[in-house]
């Protein structure tokens, strides 16, 4: 099956008075219809910039300098602004972390959902509102008729995120980008929002790019995972396989530094200190020519310090890793 989204060697550069600064470096990944890929990594690794590059919404100064972004075969990175406007909200849509700032406070939620339908599908106001109502029901908002005429501030955080999902999916997009969609929500509401996204994805065949720092969410919803570090993909593969046997020390570090819930009889087992990843992600403009993780890595040796960035290389069935000393796992 041809992928819905194929990002190939995407390189994004920030133009600054001191010269160009690399932001994303030769990033490649793809996702098929009805599938979900998760992009994970710390702040400053390039997750959100990747989303904005796909949407054609990069801030001023940032530009694609190499690579392609194909949406159903069409290179949208090279598309005209008018073409991008036609795609955004119809074939391509996005939900954001903080639904309160992403919704317009002076329009009813019904009007905001209807807007995309009127614009892209040329529906009349009444027909668009009817579809908006159907979407509110699809995202399981109770008393949907009444909520159609509500303003964002009248809804709870979980309900606002459901409205965002209704807006994003109203035109049945081929691709949905979800940037930390549940970070601002309570755990019980989080679980409901993920269940809802999965159900709608199954029904519509939407491909999803999930951006998150929450590895629990990744295990929950993503088929494949790409771990980003300092603007590069450093590990990629089937979610279960990567989570079970991470090969890059950074992936392993990310998994080790979250406290895992111990329940029932295992709640008695004590734990020592959490495994830390020391230090910080190198800031823009200060990335080294060698492996960018080397200064935080317990496995770094002369090979890592004397060689350029390790390339992303095949590492087992549908796995890839960018490390001079990937961790070996015996099955």
């Amino acid at each position: 099956m041809a992928p819905v989204l194929a990002v190939e060697d995407l390189t994004v550069t920030l133009t600054q008075p001191g010269g160009p600064v690399p932001v994303l470096e030769r990033l490649s990944f793809s996702v098929e219809a009805g599938r979900t890929i998760a992009l994970v990594g710390e702040s400053g690794c390039g997750k959100s910039m990747t989303a904005l590059a796909i949407m054609g919404l990069m801030p001023e100064g940032f530009a694609r300098t190499d690579g392609r972004i194909r949406l159903a075969g069409e290179d949208i990175a090279a598309a005209q602004p008018s073409r991008l406007r036609a795609l955004r909200g119809s074939a391509l849509s996005m939900i954001f972390q903080e639904p309160m700032t992403a919704l317009n406070p002076v329009y009813t939620v019904g009007d905001q959902i209807a807007e995309a339908l009127r614009l892209h599908q040329r529906l009349e106001r009444r027909a668009a509102l009817e579809r908006a109502l159907a979407m509110l029901r699809a995202v399981q908002i109770p008393a949907a008729e009444r909520r159609l005429h509500a303003y964002p501030h009248q809804l709870s955080g979980g309900m606002r995120q459901r409205v965002m999902i209704a807006m994003a999916l109203a035109c049945r997009p081929k691709l949905l980008i979800a940037d930390e969609p549940t970070t601002a929500l309570d755990v019980t509401v989080q679980a409901q929002v993920f269940d809802l996204l999965k159900a709608l994805q199954d029904e519509m065949g939407t491909a999803i790019v999930l951006i998150t720092h929450d590895l629990g969410a990744v295990a929950d919803i993503a088929d494949t995972v790409a771990v980003l570090y300092a603007g590069r993909c450093i590990e990629q593969g089937n979610t279960r396989s990567v989570m079970r046997a991470p090969q890059h020390p950074y992936t392993r570090g990310l998994m080790g530094c979250t406290p895992h819930l111990r329940l029932g009889a295992s709640a008695d087992a004590g734990t020592g200190p959490l495994r830390e990843i020391p230090g910080l992600v190198p800031p823009l403009g200060r990335r080294p020519a060698i492996c960018a993780f080397a200064d935080r890595c317990g496995r770094a040796d002369a090979t890592c310090l004397d060689n350029p960035q390790p390339p992303l290389s095949e590492a087992g069935p549908s796995r890839a890793v960018a490390c001079w000393h990937p961790e070996a796992h015996t099955a």
Partner: protein, 340 residues
């Protein structure tokens, strides 16, 4: 019921919260019962975790204890005095012993003042030290939280998120408090940085015999750091237990729901979720209904639950549950979920 003796915190009582209530009037009538009769004890050198959804009153409890919002009723006893009744110099004296770290380290640091000034401020205000005397204590404070002494002259925007939280912790430590209230102190941080800060908090506790009230929505973090856990729902504690007991034998249906939502993905979780994860969101805390506040979302509620408010009763050593149906309902098989 079995209980590991080592799981019970052993220090003497340090802070006692008695029947704390924080109500806010609502324009147009009614009252928000944000905190509605919360009592607990924090022992010297121990960590007391409070978990619950937004609106459960966990942050307002912290703010009530710190006197950042006025309490409607109740007592907060620290060092023999009810700090809710203190004023002037005696209140400032008490504040040296209880400090707070907030969720957003950027919002809680004045952007126009350098790190050294920010950390010295409580020393000058609460201990009456001169600028020079305060400065003499800064090196040790910066070192304790893992910041270099050169960082003293930097401004908050020149720090990363994790370093800013270290700065907030240094400021909280300045007056050598007995207890620090941490309100979602690691929630805004990246996981790698979160681990660094959690390890720092544990280290400081071991070195200085600090107690924490640790408010978080993340059960894994609370289990890692805390000796005791309280679950809040709509302004009330619905379950409280030593951490090991809580994660071995949680007894309140709301606790089951929170835990089910946090279990790692897999078939066992799907089964737990189907039976125990509650749907919807908490009802409004404005004039909450009679009966158990959780009854409207509880899959196990019976008529009695809607009529009668359950009291928080002991069901085992240090274990308290507010549920009419305790022991009547089959508890989730968390052993199976863990094995998966």
């Amino acid at each position: 019921m079995t209980m590991n003796a080592a799981s019970a915190p052993t220090g003497a009582d340090l802070l006692q919260v008695n029947d704390l209530k924080v109500h806010f009037p609502v324009p147009g009538g009614g009252r928000v019962h944000a905190v509605d009769g919360v009592s607990f004890v924090v022992r010297r050198g121990a960590s007391f975790g409070i978990v619950g959804e937004s609106g459960s009153g966990k942050s307002t409890t912290a703010q009530g204890i710190m006197r950042l919002v006025p309490a409607t009723a109740g007592q907060v006893v620290l060092g023999g005095a009810d700090i809710l009744g203190l004023r002037g110099p005696r209140l400032r004296q008490a504040r040296r012993h209880i400090q707070m770290v907030f969720q957003d380290p950027f919002a809680s640091l004045d952007p126009r003042r350098c790190a050294g000034d920010l950390v010295a401020e409580p020393l000058r205000l609460l201990e009456g030290l001169s600028r020079r005397q305060a400065a003499a204590r800064l090196d040790a404070l910066f070192a304790a939280v893992g910041l270099s002494s050169e960082a003293r002259s930097l401004f908050p925007h020149q720090f990363s998120g994790g370093q800013r939280q270290r700065l907030c912790i240094a400021r909280a430590l300045a007056t050598k408090p007995d207890i620090i209230v941490c309100d979602e102190a690691v929630s805004a941080l990246d996981v790698a940085i979160q681990a660094q800060i959690l390890n720092l908090l544990a280290k400081l506790q071991a070195e200085r015999g600090l107690a924490y009230i640790f408010i978080s929505h993340d059960l894994g973090v609370v289990q890692h750091l805390c000796d005791e856990v309280a679950v809040m729902y709509l302004g009330r504690i619905v379950e409280q237990a030593p951490t090991r007991t809580f994660f071995s034998f949680p007894r309140h249906p709301y606790s089951w729901s929170l835990i089910s939502a946090a279990v790692p993905a897999g078939p066992a979780r799907d089964a737990l979720k189907a039976r125990y994860l509650v749907r919807g969101e908490p009802p409004s805390p404005i004039d909450p209904p009679a009966g158990c506040r959780f009854a409207g979302r509880c899959p196990f509620a019976v008529e009695r639950c809607r009529a009668e408010d359950p009291a928080l009763l002991a069901t085992g050593p240090g274990h308290y549950v507010a549920c009419h149906r305790v022991g009547e309902i089959e508890a989730p098989d968390f052993d199976r979920a863990q094995a998966a």
